[in-house]
């Protein structure tokens, strides 16, 4: 069975003055209709680049994109910029992190939403404005009709993000990509926005890729989690599985470095060490440098040989140790090690 969205072996490289930056290195990701997937990973792991590649935003740029992005049977990578436009906004909507900078400062919120509608629907400006007002109401903006004539800077942060969501959803896309939509907001507003997204998601049955640093949000909102490291998927599993039996040492590190789930923020704390140098990727496992478990394996295995993403039912893990059963539940506690170390960061 083919998925609604299936990203396979996605590579994104940026030629720069210092050399080729390999931001995404064989990313895999799949998504069913109506499913919400959380994309997590520390800063620089390639989450945004992956989602922007799905949106085709690197077309017509110097970036090199390869692999397959199969969306409802169409390979988005081979589409021209012009064909891709029919997908952007209409079939795939996108919400960005900072709604203030992501909205045009010189157009009213209503104009910007109406514009998004008119790109894909042949209607008059007036009719599009009505749709925009309606949409603003649906995302919970009071007095939507008059607020539609306000400029983004006249909105509060939370209202702006609501407007951004209205803009992304006005054409009722089947896939919504939300790239850290709540990071810039304070906690109570965050919760409201999450409620809104999950509410709208259930209403329209669209699929959602939710990029976040926040495992608490993942637990609340997503059915499945994809963990990214160094531009690869290192683990993916249903939310329950990930929290109960994280397979990859990196995921265990993330869990361990996370304050208790009941904690207000649930924000990830850094794992010791730094992400791989994207200019010169190591030959073996990208996490080997920082991995406690690598020591338990035959000399040099992790550093020499890049592990594959192994499938165990609905749980996929990219790790030599896991493959060898060294990380089975109750096995050597990698998470414990990580926890000890991150405490003194």
């Amino acid at each position: 069975m083919t998925s609604f969205l299936s990203v396979k072996d996605l590579h994104v490289e940026f030629p720069t003055d210092d050399g080729l930056v390999s931001a995404v290195n064989g990313m895999d990701l799949s998504l069913e209709r109506g499913e919400t997937v959380g994309l997590v990973g520390e800063s620089g792991s390639g989450k945004s680049v992956t989602t922007q590649a799905i949106m085709g935003l690197f077309k017509d740029s110097k970036a090199r994109v390869s692999g397959t992005i199969d969306f409802e049977g169409t390979d988005l990578i081979s589409l021209s910029e012009n064909r891709m436009r029919e997908y952007r906004g209409k079939k795939i909507g996108m919400i960005f992190q900072d709604p203030l900078s992501a909205m045009h400062p010189f157009y009213t919120v209503g104009e910007q939403i109406a514009e998004a509608y008119r790109v894909h629907n042949q209607v008059s400006k007036k009719a599009a404005k009505e749709v925009a007002v309606d949409m603003l109401g649906r995302v919970g903006i009071p007095a939507a009709r008059s607020r539609a004539d306000s400029y983004p800077h006249e909105f509060s942060g939370g209202m702006r993000q609501r407007a951004m969501i209205a803009m992304a959803l006005v054409c009722e896309p089947e896939l919504l990509i939300a790239d850290e939509p709540t990071t810039a907001l304070d906690v109570t507003v965050q919760a409201q926005i999450l409620d809104l997204i999950s509410g709208l998601q259930q209403e329209t049955n669209s699929a959602v890729i939710f990029v976040t640093h926040d495992l608490g949000v993942v637990a609340e909102l997503c059915q499945r989690v994809v963990v990214m490291y160094g531009g690869q998927c290192v683990e993916q599993a249903p939310v329950r599985t990930i929290f109960r039996e994280p397979g990859h040492p990196y995921t265990r590190g993330l869990m361990a470095s996370m304050p208790a789930l009941s904690d207000e923020t649930g924000r990830l704390k850094p794992i010791p060490g730094s992400p791989p140098a994207l200019l010169d990727l190591p030959k073996g496992c990208l996490f080997a440098e920082r991995c406690e478990v690598a020591k338990l394996l035959p000399e040099g295995l992790c550093r020499e040989e890049r592990p594959l993403l192994r499938i165990h039912g609905d749980h996929e893990v990219r790790c030599h140790a896991h493959e060898r059963g060294l990380l089975a539940v109750g096995g050597p506690s990698a998470a414990g090690n990580m926890k000890g170390e991150s405490a003194d960061v």
Partner: protein
Amino acid sequence: MIAFLLRRLGAMLLLLIVVSFITFSLFHFGPADPASAACGQECTPDRVEQARIALGLDKPFFVQYLTYMSGFIMPRMIGAPGAESACAWPCLGKSFQTNENVTDMIANALPFTLSIAIGAVVLWTIAGVGLGLLAAMRKGKAADRIIVGGASVGVSLPIPVTGLVLLLVFVGILHVLPFTSNSINSPFGAAGPWAWVLNYLLPWLAIAILFSAQYIRVTRSNMIETFNEDFMRTARAKGLARRSIVFKHGVRAGITPVVTMLGMDIGGLLGGAVLTEQIFSVPGLGFTAVHAATSGDLPVTMAITMLAAFFIIVASVVVDLVYAAIDPRVRIN
């Protein structure tokens, strides 16, 4: 809005008074002696003294200044006691050199300066903004390199150099353009618009080459910055066509600094294109001002200085208004 305009108007008046006072003082306490300059070839100390009285230079400084300034409010009399002549409102005095009414002199010179300014502004705006935008859109490609290279040559070409080269090539060698004629100062004159264009084409080019080079640079860097803004990515994510992304979203946001620059440059140019008018012998405000200043002709210098200041101040108010019209985050109150 009205309050804003009134406040700016008040500030403008104040500033003009300050400018007038400074110019007047510089002249008064400067080394030039308008009286001996005005009395001509066969000068005796006696005649210099007569001239001094005729020009009113024998009075105390403040009396002179206030007398001059009163001309902005009402008509006044000018000349030696007993031989005065009337000077209608607004009276800017009479030339120390020719005894011509300065208001008339300005009215005669202004059309020449306007003729130069209009064409030059149109040319450099189209070329500068257009090429700057093109370079930004083709950043790093051949077109960008050529435009940027051209602009860096352009900014280092002073107007006297380009002006003389243009004259030499098009008038001297190729004979395809006339030498600027002083009888044409408007596209609506007897000679017709085409003759007007040909007459001013070289001065326009001389100014436009320098200015478009600057506008290319500013436009290019602002547009590149704007193209990297988050809202440009949003525009793409909506599925908009490149044309609307670039123009509706990019240019609208990235052009504001260019508008400011344009406003101030137009304001500056209206006060007289000194170098260009000299090179092409166009009797505009700049040309007249240079002559007046070098011959100690106080009323003419004063008038043109104040007019230039007036244009620049008005331009800055207009720029503020335009800015507020473009950018809703700017509130006028």
